[in-house]
């Protein structure tokens, strides 16, 4: 105690120990409150608004650079891109025609079995902000928040497939946890045979793992995985990845299955927030 009671050069005691204990207790209180009670959402939301200018200040030079490159791109490049996009749109339209009919049929058939899965009802596009938040966790900050209706646990997609889900919501920004985060798991299904399992993040953006696959299970390299819609967080039927490697060790009861994510986890710039429409209740016979 005496050792901690240091004084200024002017001889005035600073009460370092007292303030240290005070602030530590305050921090402890915050940790416990944040962990055990969900009371701090509002405080965090307000604080995130305070942090917003710093985030914008850091992200804006990168955005400005992208903008500059865009306005400096030549007319020919733009024209080529335009025709490519028109081509993409046309082929997507053709596929969509069939898809609408198939979806209607599928819903009707599933409805007969009373297990209509949740479907996506509304989408919102958000941009990833150029910010590093933690070297050891796979998370990104997106420029849409509570004021756009984003909620915790919401599914997030990119052009290739499932990207992640919303972990925290601020007023203007939200934090998305990638499916490759070591703390993330997503219920999936193999399209070839309907086998249901869970894809776990590994902390490596190019690799997921399948949980609890027995060595005798029917999983092949190249199998496509889609969301199963179980658990209700994600809409069913969106691509998650393809099986890239299956290691079967006869001495083990479980196989090691690696999956390559379908979403461009390390390159995506724009994400899509998805609102689910609750499953339509099938008419009871």
């Amino acid at each position: 105690m005496v050792a901690f009671r240091s004084t200024d050069i002017s001889g005035r005691p600073t009460g370092l120990l007292f303030r240290c204990i005070l602030f530590s207790l305050l921090a402890f209180g915050l940790i416990i409150a944040d962990k055990h009670y969900d009371q701090l959402g509002r405080i965090r939301r307000v604080l995130s608004v305070v942090a917003y200018p710093a985030q914008v200040a850091v992200a804006s030079p990168f955005r400005g650079w992208a903008w500059l490159r865009e306005i400096l791109s030549t007319r020919d490049a733009l024209r080529a891109e335009n025709s490519r996009l028109a081509e993409d749109l046309r082929s997507a339209r053709f596929r969509l025609q069939r898809y609408d009919a198939l979806e209607a049929e599928n819903r009707r058939l599933r409805g007969l079995r009373d297990n209509t899965a949740d479907v996506a009802a509304r989408f919102l596009i958000g941009d990833i902000m150029d910010l590093d938040i933690d070297a050891f966790r796979e998370r990104v900050i997106v420029d849409k928040g509570a004021q756009d209706g984003v909620y915790v646990g919401q599914a997030v997609l990119d052009a290739g497939g499932v990207f992640g889900q919303v972990a925290r919501v601020g007023q203007l920004t939200s934090e998305v946890i990638l499916i490759s985060d070591a703390a993330h798991a997503i219920p999936v299904q193999i399209t070839r045979n309907g086998l249901r399992t869970v894809a776990l993040g590994t902390g490596d953006m190019n690799r997921l793992k399948l949980a609890y696959i027995s060595t005798s299970a029917d999983v092949l390299k190249g199998d496509t995985l889609v969301t199963s819609g179980l658990g209700g967080g994600f809409p069913a039927g969106y691509p998650v990845g393809t099986v890239s490697e299956v290691k079967r060790d006869p001495a083990q009861s479980l196989a090691d299955v690696d999956v390559r994510p379908a979403a461009a986890l390390d390159r995506a710039r724009e994400l899509m927030f998805v609102w689910l429409k609750p499953a339509a209740k099938a008419p009871t016979p």
């Binding site: 240091s6 921090a27 940790i31 409150a33 590093d132």
Partner: protein, 158 residues
Amino acid sequence: MMRDTRVRRMPVMLSALAALGLAILPLPDLLDPLRPDFLVLVVYYWSIEQPQAGGLSLAFFSGLALDVVGGVVLGQHALALTLTAAWATHLRLRLRVFSVLSQSLTVFALLTAYQFVLFWVDGATGNPVTAFGRWLAPITGALIWPLLARTLSRLHER
């Protein structure tokens, strides 16, 4: 509480804001684990050179800012930074007369203690990060300390 009128708070705030910006600046994936904890170093610097200017409240609120931008449990960095900044303030009279090398070594010890508190809170709240890479930041932090201290001393002696 009596306030020393000669204490200038502007450089403290500016350097802390700049350091917060550096903490979230995007880096290539390979360099990211090597990123020194800039804001932590800045807080240590002011705790040593001018504890009247920011003191432990600077440490606490800087930590809170790191919690918010990092999206971790609220209070985690605040706790770690409060404890280690208090330690730095306690050692400040000795640190000021240390050679650059001894200062860097002390800063390394402070940063390791800081990282250890973070590690402990991570584990206690149920999302441990056991990657070895997290122990690299104290090393790069200690290496960059002489440069940072010289820059900041120019800022506050002007």
